[in-house]
Symmetry: C2
Subunit: 358 residues, 2 copies
């Protein structure tokens, strides 16, 4: 165990990992994909957001991402035509299946934020009653400071608007996912994955080729992308950079977020390449806490970025009340600060990593 | 000089400072008050926001604050009736004179923030033209994404609204200050200050009483108030506490800011007590950089808190457009994060101070 932590890119024992290890990893992920698919069909996709169905969809995405990532990182060891045919299809599967979950968690994030911003003592909808005179005869809608209550009414209305818009999007994403899983396109992919579970299309030389240089290249792409991030700024708390251009017309999606999203993807490729090298599957994965927390910071960055965009988008709904728009503005800025906080958290993780390996 | 820095509460040489030193300090501040008043009358109060007039008003407030603070900290060395009659009058002078400057700087802070939030490439009012096709014949108001431009239009409208509201408040504050300076109430105060410039109403024992225990008490009140602040939270960047209750109905003024405002006042009392101890006036003041930066952080906290409240207040203007309200919501949240940033900055200063004196 100690050796694993000291030099995590080297496997525990034995010779250098080659195409054989890659084949083993791909077979395991393909098997996991098929198991998840079977589970998804058993739990009944029509059941919608049932826990079993959601878990199965998550497992499907999980293995699809790993197969796709391995095809990317270790492409030179695999049949080129097969790789090029397979990767966009796997991306389509994981992308399509991810949408429902994304809308669900985005709505949850935004409603939690609205709740926090409205304060625990005055929940949306309770304000008028709370502000009313304590006399039992006083109607609940009569308040001594009605103009003050507006903003909380705004928070409640903003919540209702987001709930409507994101639930609609979630329902559509659910239907789209169901259609995708029943399509001939998906069946063709499932068939290919079933073949992969027993037969990996390695090139002739792959069996004796060392995987490590390819994994190192993946790590190099990550390191380069991180080096290009504005980490000095990010490590300076309250730099106020995430909300810059927050009211400019081209902020959805926010261009400054793109390099961070890219690092998130490269970090994932690096993590999966490490798994393939060590032949890790769910059961025996060695968790690198620093990579894990860096990845979590980037997930939070992505989630907050998209939540901020959803709040800005909702504010463009025609004929909303000013109080609703105001609450959405506060919410947008709050999530953009979450974006900034996530960058700070990533910078802190990454710096630790650099320090401890130097 | 080195000794001053090592133990700043002890004067350089000679015996302990007594009521004599206090009398000297009060005479100097009273003289400064009269000089500023003369300057203010010479530059012509009717000239409004002229530089000379503003400088004179600032100098008047500056000396009024110092006299008032000394009356508070060293009250036991001064005639009680005189103190009790003088302090509210000095508070009225500095409070009344402060308003015009406060509205001016609040508006400047909010417009700067809107400018930053709108991005440097798309200033409010320029968006439609910038987004329009480059063909010279295309009307400037035709844009390929009009709904996107709304938010920037919102920023421009929010700026215009704040400009209108805060300029009106500033103009009123200016008239109020002019009326105050011409009032019999003010003339009575000026007469008392003129007497103070030559004759300080010390108690009989004051001349031999050590000032230091009273200054130490002032410092103790500051230390106690700082100890009650949530500094652990403040030192944890992106704690998101300043925007909690940001949409609750009772946020203007924000109750959580009050202890910080109180520390700001106590820090000032501590600073002025140190000046009195050392007989410092403008010419020979020893600047303690840590106290100075802690004070600046608390000024920034106060300014951002009041700017955030002004944005929230403007959002309650009847019949504003949703885009305007949205921009004001973003602006409010931005300033609340400035509040949080200022608390972090204060915590950093204060921690340094504690570490370096331990």
């Amino acid at each position: 165990m100690a050796q694993r932590h000291l030099d995590p890119t080297t496997p525990l024992t034995g010779p250098a990992p080659t195409g054989d290890a890659l084949a083993g990893y791909l077979r395991a992920q393909a098997t996991e994909f098929l198991r998840a698919l079977r589970l998804h069909r058993e739990t009944g996709p029509g059941a919608g957001a049932s826990d079993g169905s959601a878990d199965a969809a998550r497992a499907l995405r999980r293995s699809a991402r790993r197969i796709s990532a391995s095809l990317h990182t270790f492409q030179s060891l695999l049949d080129t035509d097969w790789c090029e045919g397979m990767r966009p299809e796997l991306a389509w599967v994981s992308g399509t299946l991810a949408m429902e979950h994304a809308y669900t968690s985005r709505l949850e994030r935004l409603l939690n934020a609205l709740h926090r911003l409205s304060g625990s003592t005055a929940l949306p909808g309770q304000t008028a009653a709370a502000a009313a005179p304590t006399k039992a005869s006083a109607p609940a809608h009569q308040t001594s400071a009605p103009e003050r209550g507006n903003l909380t009414v705004g928070a409640a209305k903003a919540g209702a608007l987001l709930d409507r818009q994101l639930n609609l999007a979630r329902t559509r994403a659910h239907s789209t996912a169901l259609q995708a899983l029943g399509s001939s396109r998906f069946h063709a992919i499932a068939d290919k994955v079933a073949v992969l579970a027993s037969e990996v299309p390695l090139t002739k030389t792959a069996v004796t080729t060392d995987l490590r240089p390819l994994a190192t290249s993946a790590e190099g792409r990550l390191t380069d992308a991180v080096a290009a991030l504005p980490l000095v700024t990010a490590g300076n708390p309250y730099n106020a950079s995430a909300l810059v251009h927050g009211l400019s017309p081209d902020t959805v999606p926010h261009p400054q977020d793109a390099p961070w999203h890219q690092v998130r993807l490269l970090l994932r490729l690096h993590r999966y390449a490490r798994e393939a090298l060590r032949g890790e599957t769910d059961g025996n994965a060695v968790v690198d806490l620093r990579l894990l927390s860096a990845g979590q910071a980037l997930n939070r960055h992505r989630d907050a970025s998209e939540a901020a965009a959803a709040a800005a988008q909702a504010a463009r709904t025609p004929r909303i009340a000013p109080a609703t728009a105001y609450a959405l503005g506060v919410l947008h800025a709050d999530q953009r600060h979450e974006v900034e906080a996530a960058r700070f958290a990533f910078q802190q993780c990454w710096q630790k990593e650099t320090v401890s390996t130097s």
